[in-house]
């Protein structure tokens, strides 16, 4: 829908968009272009020589077992975070939608973790699982499980998944709650009159109607797991033990800034860009139909 009424000026709009365009050009397009450019170069990290190597960086990446492993790790991590996060939040949202008293208080109490920085969330969970004084670690050990996230890859992965999910619960919860509240009550009442139990009503009516929200949250959670969780990994496991929790974004950081492999890191960035763009396009295409202007 287009506005029909406009102001006439030949210079004012340019002045108005100038600040935004300046920032976007300098700090977005120029670096993004640089990343694309660097990904087809091989650079001496100390600025000695650069040579054009075409696809070589990409080829090297795809035959590098640690990069492919990182892909697998990231995929595994995102699926875990998304599925666990969505299930828990959906359960909480459904319950919050049902209760007749105290809904506001529950809501406030459940959304504050959004304010917690991922880095801080990582530190908190690390503390609970740290040996020897970590409360949860002690509890697990008393059950016979020898918890050691510094040595055991699976434990390390569990730790970062827990921290990541904990932080996302509020976000998912809010969206699910909003989604649930926009379902017309008349539909549910009609089903109740027909004798459907709450369980049945949920799975045949509510859940399908919630699917746009669910899909949207799925994409958001995957993007979150891909990128915002860098801080969690850096604060807790540093990609370890070995490389078992080195998610893709962590590898980009490590290769670029610690291992000084500029070409490889740039190529990885480009691949990540491709993934994000694909995810965003998918989400936009699917959700766009829902957007309406007054």
């Amino acid at each position: 829908m287009e506005k029909r009424v406009r102001f006439k000026s030949s210079w004012l709009p340019w002045v108005l968009v100038a600040p935004q365009m300046a920032v976007v050009l300098i700090f977005f397009f120029w670096p993004a272009g640089q990343a694309l450019y660097q990904s087809v170069l091989s650079q001496d990290p100390f600025g000695g020589s650069t040579e054009f190597v075409g696809w070589e960086n990409f080829d090297r990446l795809f035959s590098d077992t640690s990069y492919l492993a990182s892909f697998k790790t990231t995929a595994f991590f995102s699926v875990l975070v998304a599925v666990t996060g969505l299930s828990v939040s959906l359960l909480l949202a459904v319950m919050a939608d049902r209760v007749r008293q105290g809904a506001g208080i529950y809501k406030t109490l459940l959304i504050w973790p959004y304010a917690v920085a991922p880095a801080v969330a990582g530190v908190l969970w690390l503390f609970m699982f740290a040996s020897p004084m970590g409360v949860v670690a002690y509890f697990l050990r008393s059950l016979g499980l020898d918890w050691n996230h510094l040595l055991n890859g699976k434990h390390a992965m569990t730790l970062i998944v827990l921290a990541a999910v904990w932080k996302q619960i509020s976000y998912n919860f809010l969206f699910f709650l909003a989604g649930l509240q926009s379902i017309p009550k008349s539909l549910i009442e009609a089903a109740a009159i027909d004798g459907a139990s709450p369980w049945h009503r949920f799975w045949t009516i509510i859940f399908p109607l919630l699917s746009p929200t669910t899909f949207f949250l799925l994409v958001i959670n995957v993007v979150y797991a891909f990128f915002d969780t860098f801080a969690i990994v850096d604060a807790t496991t540093h990609g370890g033990p070995g490389k078992e929790t080195a998610i893709l974004v962590y590898k980009v950081y490590y290769d670029g800034f610690k291992a000084l492999d500029m070409g490889g890191s740039a190529a990885q960035s480009v691949i990540l860009m491709g993934i994000v763009v694909a995810l965003t396009v998918v989400q936009f295409r699917f959700v766009e139909k829902k957007v309406q202007y007054a």
């Binding site: 829908m1 506005k3 009424v5 406009r6 102001f7 004012l12 108005l16 968009v17 600040p19 935004q20 920032v23 976007v24 700090f27 977005f28 120029w30 993004a32 990343a35 909480l92 319950m95 939608d97 049902r98 105290g102 529950y106 109490l109 959304i111 504050w112 973790p113 304010a115 917690v116 920085a117 991922p118 880095a119 801080v120 908190l124 503390f127 020897p132 004084m133 970590g134 409360v135 670690a137 509020s170 809010l174 969206f175 909003a178 549910i188 109740a192 709450p198 915002d228 860098f230 974004v249 980009v252 950081y253 890191s265 740039a266 960035s269 994000v276 965003t280 959700v287 829902k290 007054a294």
Partner: protein
């Protein structure tokens, strides 16, 4: 909800209470740990879950720094919190300001390349800063902006979430208002200041909450852009406390964590209505 099912009501409350407890548990532990001393924490296995008596000293240590009983040196968190505050404010206010201007231009004017500019801005939504760290770092470094507030904040203003949201909102403002303003002889900036801005107040508040939290919680970007520890935001400072020494002063770490969580949490709770609106609207 529809029928009276007391059993289900009780179940719902139970589930919610468990949820709240699980969510709050790490926070509770953090609080408790910040009231004990480092020796108490490392010596008792597991850490005692009851509040200790050393709250004031621990927080004093965390805020202002100093020497600890184990001989470690703690940099105070107060200056880091100031850095976080200033960065978060610059990011949120800066982003909102330039977005108001460009959204206004994009919706209310017709000029060549308008659509191209809009798509350029839209693309920035797709790539978070984590995807372009190396080259953005190079740009910031070349501009001499390392270890400055500008370097910390401006690259994060580049993404257009606010512009997009404001544009969506402006499109819903009735044309009649613009016409009325024109009939009264008001120019575009008059209209912007006297009519559009007041109408956008709730959206601006919502954006402010989200962007403030976003700016405060930044980790990767400050990690790269600051080499000088004096410019560390508090979120980064916490990490430094863990990895620095062989002996981690957990009580100080936990106290600093609480301090780091406080401002965003207050913003969320005090501005909850706008926060929810901001989240739900930003993603449409």
């Amino acid at each position: 909800m529809i029928e009276r099912r007391p059993g289900l009501q009780i179940l719902s409350h139970v589930v919610l209470l468990i949820g709240v407890a699980v969510v709050a548990f790490p926070l509770y532990l953090t609080l408790v740990a910040s009231t004990q001393t480092a020796e108490q924490i490392s010596r008792s296995i597991p850490m005692s879950m009851l509040p200790g008596t050393h709250m004031l000293e621990t927080y004093q240590l965390a805020l202002f720094g100093g020497k600890t009983s184990a001989g470690g040196n703690i940099p105070g968190a107060l200056s880091m919190m100031r850095i976080s505050l200033i960065s978060a404010l610059i990011i949120s206010i800066g982003k909102i300001a330039i977005s108001l201007l460009s959204a206004f231009a994009l919706v209310y004017f017709r000029f060549p390349f308008r659509n191209t500019l809009f798509w350029m801005i839209f693309i920035t939504l797709m790539l978070p800063v984590e995807v372009r760290i190396s080259p953005t770092y190079a740009v910031v470094s070349n501009l001499g902006l390392l270890n400055t507030y500008a370097g910390l904040t401006v690259p994060l203003i580049a993404s257009a979430t606010a512009t997009f949201l404001l544009r969506q909102f402006f499109l819903t403002v009735p044309d009649e208002l613009v016409e009325a303003a024109r009939i009264d002889g008001a120019g575009p900036m008059r209209f912007f200041k006297d009519i559009l801005l007041p109408l956008s107040a709730t959206n601006i508040a919502a954006l402010f909450v989200i962007q403030f939290i976003y700016g405060w919680n930044q980790y990767l970007w400050p990690l790269l852009v600051t080499t000088n520890e004096d410019m560390y935001p508090v979120v980064l400072g916490i990490k430094r406390l863990i990895s620095g020494e062989a002996y981690t002063e957990w009580n100080v770490v936990m106290a600093t964590s609480i301090l780091a969580m406080l401002p965003p949490a207050m913003v969320v709770i005090l501005m909850q209505k706008w926060f929810v609106k901001g989240l739900v609207d930003t993603e449409k």
